[in-house]
């Protein structure tokens, strides 16, 4: 019996990707659908469910939101959802809610599978939709700034090494040995530059060990012959689709002549997709070259952007930013050291430590941080040794600049010989600054009090840092306080925001000033209470614990810092997303009424803390 489901067929025929199907196949699809109705407001598909197939909106509209409730996509008539479960064979990470009264056509999973298998362009169509939603869901900033999705990467760009190969006549033992040596789970069987087959760990287990074959059996009967391959200009999501639909984990990549040029694994793709901080840090730490590190570094902004979109707290984002930055900095120092040794300049002539200063030392790095660093020497290095450290400092600084950290305009970097000192020299310098603070020295003290170990001998860093904490004289504290008071929050007498009247930053205020005010206040409190804490939050807590300030002040300032940092991060993430250089200039008009009210409260908190500090100043410092 022929049943013509004409309405459904004609509807599908009007919408991509069904419009590309041959008429005969199209006519078969309606029978493999069910129809469902979802009232406005009802949840069609919940996070963690697998769904019943591909949901095509027949009429109405559905919103797709991720676990955190962020809108990922709005699906209208003729569009679909639910493909993520079908493509990945796992429960969905979205909640799909009807936002209008909605009629749905649900294509059964087996039909979807057959369709995507028979029509690669249909598969590509849904993979693209899936990955566009995924990218939005993970807030992939890299996409916005570089114009390509992670899974839009060409597979040739994923290949990290030449393929590990063997021949069909080699023994299984040889093949296994080659795999062990290269640390791979799969080997390609090649003859006359042509790919004959593939042998995986699983094959060795199932077809050799379990089958009781001797180790000197040839590879040919064990291999999977004529494996599925991908051309090297295929896209990463096509690779993902192949693997998912065929349930395989290794895909050989061939060039236009059919010669195997490498292997893509599911791990490669998962890495590509999950731009998560832990992975990125590991990836940076494993880069074998400086060029590689420079290439990975922009990923930091992408990760920070994601965290901002997920509404992670400013304190946590800053910590992640610092940790990722440290991964880059450590790797660069290590690679430059190796480079110097490779050029015949030898290992470090004396023990040393590389220290970071300022916001990086306080774990408060954001989108905008200069390079602030110094070197602590374990002994006098002599003339040749000094040249070695000069070369180290110059190269590290140059590479970090390429990674996106501008050089410090105040030249507080290890490139400056003034900041490459032995422990006794650092102690003397800190003591000098404390005794006779010159205007320059006050600024220096502030920066060098925020000192954290990055690389080398941590004991050297520790000695200098503790000296900086113990050498703060009342006179120095007075100067630091005066500096802290100069950072007035941009708040007028009648609680209006004070904005720039002229120039490039007209109608904005500089959020860095009130943030710096809190940072400086906390530093003063920490010095007064003798705490070696580095982060502003820890310093405030330590000062409250020591009774230097009351608990309310500590809590209020911590909250104010979080709010101001949060707004700054969101502002900077938006700038980074649209390809602009992140800055500190917020426009009150861009804030919601609620944000403005909270920001005014934060500024009030900073201002009153400054007033209390000013009333405690020793004579001559107001």
């Amino acid at each position: 019996m022929e049943v013509e489901l004409a309405e459904v067929r004609d509807f599908l025929a009007d919408h991509a990707p069904f419009d590309r199907l041959p008429a005969a196949e199209l006519a078969e699809l309606p029978r493999r659908c069910t129809i469902r109705y979802a009232r406005r407001g009802s949840v069609v598909l919940e996070v963690g469910e697998r769904g019943d197939g591909l949901y095509v909106v027949r009429s109405g509209a559905v919103e797709v939101r991720d676990e955190t409730g962020e809108l990922v996509d709005r699906v209208g008539t003729g569009e679909a959802f639910g493909m993520s479960s079908l493509l990945e064979h796992r429960p969905t990470r979205y909640r799909c809610t009807a936002v209008e009264d909605t009629l749905l056509l649900v294509l059964e999973p087996a039909a979807f599978e057959e369709l995507t298998r028979a029509h690669p362009d249909v598969a590509t169509f849904y993979a693209a939709t899936h990955h566009a939603r995924l990218s939005r869901a993970i807030g992939n900033l890299q996409r916005a700034t570089s114009g390509s999705t992670a899974l839009g990467t060409r597979v040739r760009d994923l290949l990290t090494r030449e393929p590990v190969t063997t021949t069909p006549t080699a023994t299984v033992r040889d093949a296994a040995a080659a795999m062990s040596e290269a640390g791979v789970s799969c080997i390609l069987v090649v003859e006359h530059l042509a790919l004959l087959g593939i042998v995986t760990d699983r094959d060795l287990r199932n077809r050799v060990l379990a089958a009781g074959l001797p180790p000197d059996s040839p590879v040919r009967p064990v291999m999977t012959p004529d494996p599925v391959t991908l051309p090297d200009d295929a896209l990463a999501f096509e690779a993902l689709l192949e693997m998912v639909s065929r349930d395989i984990h290794h895909l050989p990549v061939v060039d236009e002549t059919g010669r195997p040029v490498g292997l893509v694994t599911t791990t490669d793709l998962v890495r590509l997709e999950n731009a998560n901080p832990v992975y990125l840090a590991a990836e940076i730490g494993g880069q074998p070259t400086l060029t590689g590190v420079v290439a990975e570094a922009p990923g930091i902004h992408a990760v920070l952007g994601q965290l901002v979109e997920r509404d992670v707290s400013a304190a946590d984002i800053s910590r992640v930013a610092t940790a990722l930055g440290d991964a880059v900095r450590r790797r660069v120092v290590a690679l430059v050291e190796a480079e110097l040794a490779g050029e015949g300049l030898g290992p470090p002539p004396v023990p040393y430590s590389w220290v970071v200063l300022g916001s990086v030392a306080r774990d408060e790095e954001g989108f905008t941080a200069d390079q602030d660093h110094a070197i602590v020497l374990g002994a006098e290095p002599g003339e040749d040794g000094a040249a070695w450290f000069a070369a180290l400092a110059e190269r590290v600084t140059a590479v970090l600049e390429q990674c996106g950290w501008p050089r410090c305009p105040g030249d507080m970097m290890a490139t400056n010989p003034q900041w490459r000192l032995t422990v006794p020299q650092w102690r003397r310098l800190l003591a000098d600054w404390s005794r006779e603070p010159q205007p320059d020295a006050v600024l220096h003290t502030a920066v060098f009090h925020d000192m954290r170990h990055l690389a080398g001998d941590p004991g050297l860093t520790e000695q200098v840092h503790l000296a900086s904490v113990s050498t703060a004289s009342p006179r120095l504290l007075g100067h630091l306080s005066r500096q802290a008071l100069a950072m007035r929050p941009p708040l007028g007498f009648f609680r209006g925001f004070v904005v720039e009247r002229h120039g490039e930053h007209r109608d904005t205020f500089d959020i860095k000033r009130p943030i710096s005010a809190v940072v400086q206040l906390a530093r003063i409190y920490a010095l007064r209470s003798g705490s070696p804490a580095l982060s502003t939050r820890r310093r405030l807590a330590a000062a409250a614990a020591a009774g230097t300030i009351d608990q309310d002040t500590a809590t209020e300032l911590t909250d104010a810092l979080e709010l101001m940092s949060y707004l700054r991060l969101h502002h900077q993430a938006a700038q980074a997303r649209s390809g602009r250089t992140p800055d500190n200039f917020l426009r009150p008009a861009d804030l919601t009424q609620r944000q403005r009210r909270h920001l005014r409260d934060a500024f009030e908190i900073v201002r009153s803390a400054q007033q209390r500090l000013s009333s405690h100043l020793p004579p001559g410092f107001e």
């Binding site: 309405e7 069910t34 979802a38 009232r39 009429s59």
Partner: protein
Amino acid sequence: MRARLPVLRRSRRPDHYPPGPLRDLAAAPPPPGSTPVSQVELLALDLEATGLDPRTDHVLALGWVPVVRGRVLLAEAEEHRVRPPAGVDVGSSATLHHLTDDALSGAEALPDVLPLLLGALHGRVLLAHHAPVEVGLVGAAAMTSYGARPPLTVVDTLAVEHRLRADVHGEVWGSLRLDAARQTYGLPRYAAHHALTDAIAAAELLLAQVAELEVRLGREVLLRDLSPKRSG
């Protein structure tokens, strides 16, 4: 105290019916009215005929589709064109359903299609928009073939819509025709008077009505909330 009068109901025992499709159907009744609609199987049916009078008019096409667990199962949709008895012309009704005498000359005979429909109704509630037409025509056909009307439980989307729209005075505003009723739920517009399309349209309308009822009642909708009628 007055004794409560027993409610008289026509027997639906299978042995009330002649052996064959009707007795089989009577042996497979749909679940009771207390069953949630989500667990009831329905069969949406639409007929095209030479007219609306079961005594004088003839079925030209039947379309049906099951509704199971809130889903319209297109895989089990069926459509049959029916050859009218000799000497009967489609006449002017062809302007509505576009089924011409020529188109129907090679079609099946109603007595051959009827057992298929009755088989599809096993355990299911018959669903139609303005059901008296379908019930009347199917009943007349069964009377001709088997000498009895089939035992049916019937839900009428038009009657449901009437209840949903009636205000406190029992007045109903606006058209209750299938297409008009569908539009109030934002359902798409289909070309009318095609048996299977209309059956699907009625099935979709029921899903929308059940969703609406669920909100109004604030609980799961039971079969009895749809005021099912028994016939046959």
